[in-house]
Symmetry: C2
Subunit: 465 residues, 2 copies
């Protein structure tokens, strides 16, 4: 790569080569995983460029292509698997300044990739009482482009499923990495080639996302004396077609007591806690339903309760914020991403708890999958060794509980995807030199890779050297 | 009853005693059922009074109570089971003029009972881009009070379930039938005592209903060469969490060809037809999903297609409009209301078709029940005799397909409710003389009645004399 020539050619843009700030923009939340932390800590780009328009993106890609410089896109770097980390150095393409909300219509919005989820929601609410269907719990800091390219779903998933479900992304506008970068409008089945592709298949310069009605959601904490009872309540509440929900998270004791500092004064170590978001017009139905459950106690309601120390948004206790809060108190903690499915998820969770507690503590997110109530686990794990972590993953798999391994930084290993021939073929067209986020698509580097060899891929070992 | 005294006492109100117009306001769509038609055709009230305020409602009830005059509430009389027909004569309380929309908030509306569903939707859309979660397909003519007191659900049920699900009615304000009529605000579990009670447990004077975002729904007709394939498509489409739907109706051939005059030129007698409503922002996802089904062909889209004779709203081909259209072409047709449930409804429907077609033709409404995709049947039946109709119902029951018998005018027989002790106890308090819509609650007249004796209750036989 001709780094100097590239930097010189781009020097009229907002470009940064200062090692400290370049290193800062070369990192994300990879340190959630002790495995990735050990392997990726040294990673840094050579420079950061921050375009403010699609024309500038095209110019950067064209120039980097000409100089054989790798390009790794970045929103605000909140990914947990090193998705945004430039393994081969080169250019970090920081899209945070390309953040205009372009058009808000009934049911949809057209937006640039760098818009922060919170700002986007505020714009849509202000314009016409609308908001995104779903957001990562990093709503306050993450970008819409990073969410679509690096995330999977989150708050709102209890109603709308996940980002990969048809209808949850309408259109992506993408610039390719070629001698003459092309603009492609991606819709329909093709969306899976670009969404959740970690920026390996083109740079997203515009997104068209569906919206839904915005409400002043009531955030709550609810306690139960019994974990199983709480899970069944969560399942049944999510099955109520007339009650509009945005979140149900369930925390095995003593997660809330030990790790949620502002909740701690209000719960005991043996209470199961749920974080729940309900639309105001559904609060009457919610109360009717909840009153049927003798064990349930609403200890906090964002529209009523005054705690001396306000807890903030309840969704910032769920999804991957749970892990963050636990790690802050106990740095030895890491996590798993499991699926308990839709068949009989409550029984599966209880089985997993019986097998692994207290080494693993259940943190359940209730979502929808294929039209049914689904439970996903963001299980907290007291980390000891990599061998034990791998064994825990393997034991879950043996119990019929699939894992989306968050201790791997490649698409295939983390996403449980077999090598996707269409995705790979698409990359050959849009990134012939393989310069976009190198190292993240195993099948590009190792065409014979298959999911069965997941733990054997040499890439991870090499990075650790 | 002292009819003359009562009429005199109420003569300063909008009161009608002309036999022709009183008889007109004493009827509903009971003639859908040849069984009810034979038994109820003679029914008429003695007078109709049309209040415009709650104070007038109270005055009417107080006066009727004092004179022992029965009172049967009426919206616009589109019920199908004679719900609004005054079996014991007396007063028809016509609420159609009490139709103010009182307050529209984010997610809910407060409204008087006589507001027509279409007008209510228009008011909510105009105010803040909102609309009702669900409506009966009689949207253009039926009232919100009649829908809640006499209906069960409808268009929108594919997203929100049915009216009886907690959250789908927020609050009902009710006037009781006592010497001094009381005002009760009904919420929570108590809602089941008044909603779908045919006006036997108080007169609704105000409703608080949840709203959802209004969209310019795209209405479509889709054809399939194969009925089973169409059913599976309908089930899978309804299972798509990211595609916002309002309606999926499935019509066994040749229903659409034979009975839908404006659709006929565009389909063959052996094609299965679906009526579907999709939010505009979900059309891209809908098209992606539908393209996976080789057999599917979209023959009409309300936002694109020009037919010489426009078909109107597609929902006016579904729910109980299907029956209406069929009866217009073939007066011998009537219908059933069956439930194919959530377990494996497609298999159940195919079983029923194999057993009963062409005497019965499947018309399926896809809804939600307990958080899962549900199929309800508004099966068309070529009527021959009452005995055969009863046998068809019994044969369905024997196959494990429950019926909500639309050929009965009582709450218990039509609604498949066992005698509800709480509802009965409530009636004792709010209507001690039993003057509200007499004859509709079997357990009031016959405390020993049980569901197992459904076909034996003497009330029906007596009415036929
Ligand atoms: C506390 C915490 C909670 C979290 N909760 C959730 C959650 O609920 N759900 C969830 O899905 N994730 C969650 N995450 C992960 C992450 O925050 C989300 O995926 C987030 O939306 C990423 O946005 P970002 O702007 O930080 O993206 P980044 O981390 O900057 O980038 C993510 C990926 O997208 C690529 N990318 C960024 N912009 C573009 C572009 N314009 N074109 C092409 N590729 C691009 C990057 O190269 C990278 O591979 C959480 C993380 C943390 C730390
Ligand atoms: C073509 C057609 C299609 C239909 N589709 C559907 C459908 O999709 N879903 C559905 O549920 N039904 C359906 N129905 C039945 C009926 O139209 C609906 O239930 C409708 O909403 C009733 O409204 P209405 O104003 O006509 O009520 P009415 O028929 O006037 O009254 C219905 C019942 O409610 C009582 N009532 C009315 N107002 C009050 C009040 N203020 N207080 C107390 N009691 C009151 C009456 O006494 C009566 O028992 C259909 C009927 C037809 C003819």
């Amino acid at each position: 790569m001709d780094l100097d020539g590239c930097i010189k050619a781009l020097s009229h843009l907002d470009l940064d080569t200062k090692p400290v700030s370049v290193k800062a923009k070369s990192r994300d939340f990879f340190w959630y995983s002790p495995v990735l932390k050990a392997r990726l800590d040294h990673v840094t780009a050579d420079f950061v460029v921050s375009p403010t328009s699609e024309a500038e993106v095209i110019e950067v890609l064209k120039t980097c292509y000409a100089h054989d410089v790798p390009v790794t896109a970045r929103g605000t770097g909140t990914g947990n698997y090193g998705q945004a980390m430039p393994l081969a150095g080169g250019c970090v393409l920081n899209l945070a300044n390309m953040n205009k909300v372009k058009e808000i219509r009934p049911g949809s919005v057209v937006v640039e990739p760098g818009a922060v989820l919170r700002d986007l929601d505020a714009a849509c609410k202000g314009d016409s009482g609308q908001e995104l269907r779903m957001f990562s719990s990093t709503w306050a800091t993450a970008t819409i482009g990073g969410f679509v390219a690096g995330g999977s779903g989150g708050v709102g998933g209890i109603r709308w499923g996940s980002l990969r479900d048809p209808g949850n992304i309408i259109r992506l506008r993408v610039v390719t990495m070629e001698a003459e970068p092309q603009i492609q409008e991606i819709t329909g089945e093709d969306l899976t080639r670009v969404a959740h592709a970690y920026g390996t298949n083109g740079i997203i310069t515009e997104l068209e996302m569906p919206l839904t009605a915005a409400y002043d959601w009531v955030g709550m904490f609810v306690t139960f004396p019994d974990f199983g009872e709480a899970l069944r309540y969560a399942y049944d509440l999510a099955s109520q077609d007339g009650i509009l929900l945005k979140l149900i998270s369930v925390f095995e004791p003593p997660v809330a007591h030990d790790y949620f500092l502002r909740v701690k004064p209000h719960v005991t170590p043996d209470q199961t806690v749920l974080a729940i978001m309900v639309a105001p017009q559904s609060m009457a139905g919610f109360e009717t339903f909840t009153a049927r459950h003798a064990g349930a106690e609403v200890i906090y309601r964002s529209d009523q309760t005054q705690w001396t120390k306000a807890p903030g948004h309840v969704f910032e206790y769920g999804w991957n914020h749970t892990t963050l809060r636990a790690m802050k108190i106990d740095p030895s903690i890491t996590y798993l991403q499991t699926s308990y499915g839709t068949e009989d998820p409550v029984a599966k969770v209880l089985e997993a708890r019986a097998a692994f507690s207290p080494e693993c503590l259940q943190h359940i997110e209730v979502t929808r999958s294929g039209g049914r109530v689904n439970m996903a686990g963001l299980t907290l794990v007291k980390f000891t060794t990599e061998e034990r972590l791998d064994a825990i993953v393997a034991e879950h798999e043996a119990m019929g509980i699939p894992n989306f391994n968050p201790h791997r930084y490649t698409l295939e290993e983390g996403g449980r995807q077999a090598t996707d021939a269409r995705q790979l073929e698409f990359k050959r067209q849009v990134d012939p030199k393989g310069l976009l986020n190198p190292g993240k698509m195993i099948s590009w580097d190792d065409p014979d890779w298959g999911y069965e060899t997941m733990y054997a891929w040499p890439g991870l070992r090499k990075a650790a050297e």
